[in-house]
């Protein structure tokens, strides 16, 4: 099996330099992946499926990832000469910027024909999380993506163009939310529980007034 760098170079040679990016995974699993540009993704997927050296004929897993807007604080250190003649001062300037979030679809590809052991992971990202959430469906290439892309559509809200039957699969059709998104707020059908903790405790406080503070003096221990 070719390495991911070799696959990337061949995609670049065939489809252009801006169609694919190698995303490295710094974790111990070191599962690096290829980020495909949405408009060329279908053709690249077909290439990965048909290429005689790769023959990635099996998509074992398709899933979604939600990347919310992220605030990034950049610290720039500049040295300013001290007019009094002392050592140079180091001034830190902090700039905040919002990294826009996106929705992502991740596919794990294997080759049954070539008995590949490691998956080739490809990703696609939407432009944003609100209105431009379309991605090309890879179901025409790998039939096993059909239900999993429906699940991504259901839980994350990515709209797959070219999907043969894009409906909700787990939640009911009238449901409006996408529960796996990070900003999803569940229905507030909280009831009193004897031992609330964590998030439940916060919600309990919103529902019920805090119990009156203890008036009996605590034993000194």
């Amino acid at each position: 099996m070719e390495t991911l760098e070799q696959i990337r170079d061949r995609i670049v040679a065939k489809f252009g330099a801006d169609t694919v990016t190698l995303i490295t995974n710094p974790g111990p699993s070191a599962q690096h992946s290829l980020l495909l540009v949405a408009h060329a993704a279908r053709d690249i997927a077909r290439f990965l499926h048909d290429d005689p050296a790769l023959r990635l004929d099996y998509c074992s897993n398709a899933t979604g990832v939600d990347w919310p807007d992220k605030e990034i604080v950049e610290t720039v250190k500049t040295t300013q000469p001290d007019p009094a003649g002392g050592p140079d001062k180091v001034v830190e300037t902090k700039t905040k910027r919002i990294q826009p979030g996106c929705l992502e679809a991740v596919y794990h590809l294997y080759s049954i024909a070539l008995k590949s052991a490691e998956p080739v992971i490809i990703r696609m990202r939407t432009a944003n999380r609100t209105d431009d959430v379309t991605l090309p469906s890879l179901t025409p290439v790998w039939r096993s993506c059909e239900f999993q892309e429906r699940e991504i559509y259901d839980l994350y809200g990515i709209v797959f163009t070219g999907h043969p039957d894009l409906r909700r699969i787990l939640m009911w059709d009238e449901f409006k939310d996408h529960p796996m998104r990070k900003d999803y707020v569940g229905p507030d059908d909280y009831e009193w529980e004897p031992t609330p903790h964590g998030e439940v405790l916060e919600r309990a406080k919103a529902h019920y007034p805090t119990p009156p503070a203890s008036t009996s003096p605590k034993s000194e221990e």
Binding site: K176, D177, P187, E199
Partner: protein, 198 residues
């Protein structure tokens, strides 16, 4: 007199004796507790010893619903519809933590926090999942309840009374949750217990 072949009894007693020993449960599985229920029906635990071995595939022919497993909100209207389709007299055993209270999935967005929000429950069988013996004990409790049930008077079952309905409303699928989220005639949110000094 009994030696002479004469049996003196009340109608209610013989009626309750009859139905308590031929319970027909609904063949209905929701999640992993259903495996335990199947186990109860098989040779080792053998629910047939209690006369309840005829699992009916149709709610019209069943008189015991064993709620076994997680009830998702998407499944709930079908569950209530099946319950409504069962003929009276009917009983309900809730089996396992999920069906009783939502269990480990209680905080989830898609799980009903206990089936007793929508249909009346006679016996709760705790466990995750309960042992088959626990379900058999639940069945024996149902039998006990059947034998002690008066047919007339203020304690008569709901189908003999004029003031109660046997039809339970089926909730609709809403945009965020089931509408209504619980049957307010059956279930009320419990009040918080404020302990002194805590």
């Amino acid at each position: 007199m009994r030696r002479q072949g004469v049996l003196l009894t009340s109608f209610a007693e013989i009626y309750n004796w009859g139905r308590a020993n031929s319970i027909w449960p609904l063949q209905f599985g929701l999640a992993c507790c259903a495996i335990e229920m199947i186990c109860v029906a098989a040779a080792r635990f053998d629910i047939a010893r209690f006369g309840a071995e005829i699992f009916r595939a149709s709610p019209r022919q069943a008189d015991l619903m064993i709620m076994n497993g997680t009830v998702t909100k998407k499944m709930l209207p079908q569950v209530v519809r099946l319950w409504n389709q069962m003929g009276e007299p009917k009983f309900c055993i809730v089996m396992g933590a999920c069906a009783s209270s939502g269990g480990p999935f209680r905080e989830g967005y898609n799980v009903v926090k206990g089936i007793d929000r929508f249909i009346p429950v006679d016996v709760y069988v705790p466990g995750c999942p309960p042992r088959p013996e626990a379900l058999l004990h639940g069945l024996m409790e149902i039998q006990k309840k059947m034998r002690e049930e008066p047919l007339t008077g203020p304690d008569a079952p709901r189908y003999f009374r004029k003031d109660t309905t046997c039809e339970y409303p089926i909730p609709e699928f809403g945009e965020h949750d089931l509408v209504p989220p619980y049957n307010s005639e059956l279930w009320k949110p419990p009040a918080p217990i404020v302990r002194e000094g805590k």
